[in-house]
Amino acid sequence: MDQIISNFNLLFQFPTVNLKIIIDGVMVGALFALAAYGLALVWGVMNVKNLAQGDFVIAGGYVAWFSSTQMGEYSIHPLLGVPLAFIVLWGVGWIVYKLVINRVIERDLFTSLLATFGVAIMTAQILNLLFGSDTQSIQLPYETLHLFGGVVDLPIAKLIGVGLAGVLALGVVLFMRYSRTGQAIRATAQDPRAARVLGINTDRIYAFTFSLNAAICGAAGAIIVMAWVIQPFYGIVYSIRAFVVVTAAGLGNLPGVIAAGLGLGVLEQYGALIFGIGYQQAIAVLLLLIVLIIRLAQQQRVRQALQ
């Protein structure tokens, strides 16, 4: 308890540290938001709760790491790993959809959870088999900016990563809003039967949506490996965050997903500083519980009012 109090006091003894925590939180939160954005799409459109979300993120990280560090003279620049991971994971998403997901779309929640959990385990094991269990990362040849007398550190690699995450998120938002396919996806999400009557090939839309989700995850992973570290079994870290963010934001609230992702990132950084880094994941799970309790209470109130 003394440790927690003295940690809490640091926030007042060194006020500039708050700025650092917020910046760190926004940087990591942007990637939580990106992973959650894809999950929100799949959940909202196909009603599939994808437990392999984080594993797609890690797979994208390995695509970027392998293509930029393990191909000798054919290695590409790490930044090109982001579009490459997007494309490769798009393909992976399409295959997974055809083999697994299209069989569980209209099944019960338990079936879809079980199927995607299987995909998660398979993905992690394949990555482990191919690349081993070592922690991997990519060192971008960029310095770190030290601001406010060295209190705030801004690694340029992370700034680039967050910038790319922002561009990708904006691109997906614009695509969903203005493209015909984006409109078809939204129509399918609202009422698949009506969408089918209007001539939309919903199976193709589902395949596209799931592939797009995997591709977004892949790009997020490619950004993560430039700024943090990855390991085949780290998928759960991002899956949990994605579920927390989508639950907190609510389905269909894509701007809310971005805000919740950033908020979770900042909250975790504060929690890690005050309570200890070992409680970082517990903070996410606790937040999930609180949100669920509040939402259930709201639903109950609405039900009582209707009665």
């Binding site: 482990n128 390991q231 950084q269």
Partner: protein, 410 residues
């Protein structure tokens, strides 16, 4: 036949005849079957492979040197491996299978304290001697096991030397060791918690102030919050232990956050290949090691520690350009202890072999090996290496040091 060709054929035949008895004697050796459940897949796969390579290298070296001599017969080792997938329950099941179905009478240990903890009750139940090389947690050695022996130093010793080193530096700089501020960040697993315990015990001896004492999550990928605290509180020594992910994350983020702590000590530097992955950022880091190729240890099979390093790299070219991990060296030492025990026992009877192992007092390329009643090795110290210009140089304890400590780290 031309004279030159005739001479060549004669010489070839003569060499063949000279070689024939050796080849025959190698074939005449019987086999001693050992069993091992090793992490060949899963989160410990890399270190599992280092362990298996160490076992196989030692088996080949012992065979080259004439095998294991029991009475007037010679034997070579053969290991039946199973993949425990880095899962404790699977490791225990496989140990049962090795003993019950494959009828293995002697075991080599798995990788990690966790796997060893899972297997040890099984080998104990069937009274199967197990020499292990990769389970360092001291909680393995307070359960009264009689058939478990470990060639490595227990984990509480890994980074305790860093505390002694910080105390020595404080004295050299005219400060009292009690003025040293210590930050500890270790993973919440049995191995790292032992390391923490050893560090805190030594810090208490000097009355040092532990200003940060944090536990890292198992899926650590970001420790910026801890390093933020480090940059504010400014400890004199930062100790990190979290397997290779802890080392990788710490080295990367210490550089990014420009952490100026004058001494940083950690485990698993080689496993995380911090010099290869992070270059100059790794310079100055102190790394705990069970063994180093520069240490002055020697035995008749492997030669010096430096010779082991050289021949191991020749046998396994994938280690060229890297530091041979101590996990491979200690695995080789475990096989060597079996050879020594079999020869002293003079029989294949497992209880006699167990007793011979318990009485081991052996100098090896890996260091001295002598087991306490609890089964841990008490004849070999841990050493600290500092990464200096990308090289791992032994700097502590003083009597093993090949280089001076660079302080503060650069």
């Amino acid at each position: 036949m031309k004279p030159l060709l005739k001479w060549s054929l004669s010489a070839f035949a003569a060499v063949g005849l000279m070689a024939a008895p050796q080849a025959a004697s190698a074939q005449d050796c019987d086999t001693i079957e050992l069993g091992a459940a090793i992490s060949l897949t899963g989160k410990y796969a890399t270190n599992g492979m280092h362990t298996q390579n160490g076992y196989e290298f030692a088996i080949d070296k012992i065979a080259e040197a004439g095998g294991v001599q029991i009475g007037d017969k010679c034997y070579n080792f053969n290991v039946t491996y199973y993949d425990d997938e880095s899962k404790g329950d699977r490791a225990a099941t496989l140990a049962e299978r090795l003993i019950q179905q494959d009828e293995v009478q002697y075991m080599l240990g798995p990788y990690s304290s966790g796997m060893t903890k899972a297997i040890a009750p099984v080998t104990e139940k069937y009274k199967i001697p197990m020499i292990e090389a990769e389970g360092a947690s001291r909680s393995l050695f307070n359960k009264g096991y009689k058939y478990l022996f470990a060639v490595l130093s227990t984990s509480e010793q890994y980074l305790a030397e860093a505390v002694n080193l910080a105390a020595d530096v404080a004295k050299e700089n005219g400060k009292d060791p009690s003025e040293v501020k210590l930050a500890v960040a270790v993973e919440n697993d049995p191995f790292s918690l032992d390391i923490r315990a050893g560090v805190l015990e030594d810090a208490a001896k000097y009355d040092m102030d532990v200003v940060i004492d944090e536990k890292l999550p198992r899926d650590l990928s970001d420790m910026s919050a801890i390093l933020t605290k480090v940059s504010l509180i400014k400890p004199d020594l930062l100790v990190v232990s979290g397997h290779s992910k802890g080392a990788a994350t710490a080295v990367r983020q210490i550089e990014e956050q420009n952490i100026q702590t004058p001494m940083v000590a950690m485990t698993h530097c080689e496993a995380a290949d911090v010099t290869g992955n992070y270059g100059d950022a790794a310079n100055g880091i102190l790394c705990a090691t069970q063994w180093a190729e520069t240490l002055k240890y020697e035995d008749p099979i492997f030669g010096t520690a430096a010779n082991f390093e050289k021949e191991f790299k020749e046998a396994y070219p994938e280690y060229q350009g890297k530091t041979v991990p101590y996990q491979s060296a200690q695995a080789a030492a475990a096989v060597y202890v079996f050879k020594d025990a079999f020869e002293r026992a003079g029989t294949l009877d497992k209880d006699a072999v167990r007793d011979a192992i318990a009485e081991t007092d052996l100098m090896t390329f890996y260091g001295g090996i002598k087991f306490s009643d609890a089964g841990n090795n008490i004849a070999k110290p841990m050493v600290l290496r500092q990464i200096q210009d990308g090289q791992y140089n032994v700097v502590a304890p003083a009597k093993f040091a090949s280089h001076d400590l660079i302080y503060p780290r650069k």
